[in-house]
Amino acid sequence: MTVKTITTGELAKKVVNHEETLILDVRNTDEFDDWKIEGGKVKVFNEPYFNLLDGIESVERDLQKDQEVIVVCAKGGSSQMVGELLEEAGYSDVYSLEGGMKAWSEHLEPTKVADLNGGGSLYQFVRLGKGCLSYFIESDGEAAVIDANRMTEIYETFAKEKGVNIKHLIDTHLHADHISGGRQLAENAKGTYYLPPKDATDVTFDHTALQEGRDIVVGNTRVKVQPIYSPGHTLGSTSLIIDDQYLLTGDILFIESIGRPDLAGKAEDWVGDLRETLYKRYKELSNDLVVLPAHYSFAKELGKGGKVSARLGDLYQKNSGLQVDDEGEFRKMVTDNLPPQPNAYDKIRHTNMGKVNPDEEERREMEIGPNRCAVHG
């Protein structure tokens, strides 16, 4: 008996469309507690596969025989086996997630943010398995990709479908939670890879400086990408204003939280920069800018169609990280609330600098797990 399978793309659609989705995660409980599928109307429960080998009694109370259930494991092998056990026990609507959490970590779901005034469109690519957000601007036959993930062929296929050529690759900062696809995409497309100079001091490959005052134009001369120096997550962190309407905040400001200052240096050293960016520089910008961050942390941040965004002025009312008037209190909040660091973050940084060059399989393993780039006040 072979269990039906569901692809990561099919599951992603269910999540962003807020369909009722029941997931049985059969990885061991430590891994489940660390990182799991969330979002939309997902209900997920855990029972390690090795507890089900002698019988499935322990999950029977959580499952109706005719209820749809998606079984998930690390790579897709154990979920297949558990799926078979469930079918043998009379469950009729069982699916196994193809490729497991490893594949889930790599799925990107594109969602259109807006048509741009200057002509062209802005898309957000939501990496549901990791909470990473990257952006694709297309205008007049050209495209820019911002904070690209490692899975470069997804952007390349998308560009082909839209009939545009990727020209500009921009990273708002040197990433510590995921391997950047910017360099590879630039190589493949003979495009330009932009990095903030202060994050690129140890970078071993050719790139162009992403600097305030040097705007980047995508295709049509009216679609402008304007860098704003905004340190605090890293020393170089640079935000981008797109088409005078959208503020790409990188890992500085999220919808429900703010960036963490400790992944490339010391929290105490950089918390002042973070404060300056969030409480001064961003305040000087228009309240009507739409914030588009490089991450989200909570399933509830996923809006319609999976989109993650908010008006800057609204964040100054609602985001708890922006409500701390006292600087000392802010420092304490940030340094006391640092979450565990992301998996392999130091090696990921060195990979993004070009200093080490792990093989494809190792790159995949390095990125497994949640991103943890935020501080929650």
Partner: protein, 75 residues
């Protein structure tokens, strides 16, 4: 710590290492040690979690040239 049996689970992907280990340990007596060789990285945390839930003790684990070795004492 002398193993009474060695199980070769190299080349096997999840869930097979644990399925085989479970079967092998059923044939041993309480206190006996089973030595396991595996190559699936996922086996590490799964084995530790499985041993704990089954009342067995993971005595030692090593990794050399991509081969993971474990010694488990039956509880």
């Amino acid at each position: 710590m002398e193993a009474v049996k060695t199980l070769d689970a190299t080349g096997l992907a999840c869930p097979m290492p644990i399925v085989k280990i479970k079967k092998a340990i059923q044939e041993l007596s309480s206190g006996d040690v089973l030595e396991i060789h595996a190559t699936d990285q996922g086996a590490k945390s799964d084995l530790a979690a499985w041993a704990k839930s089954g009342g067995h003790e993971l005595l030692k684990d090593t990794e050399e040239d991509g081969v993971l070795k474990f010694w488990i004492q039956k509880g």
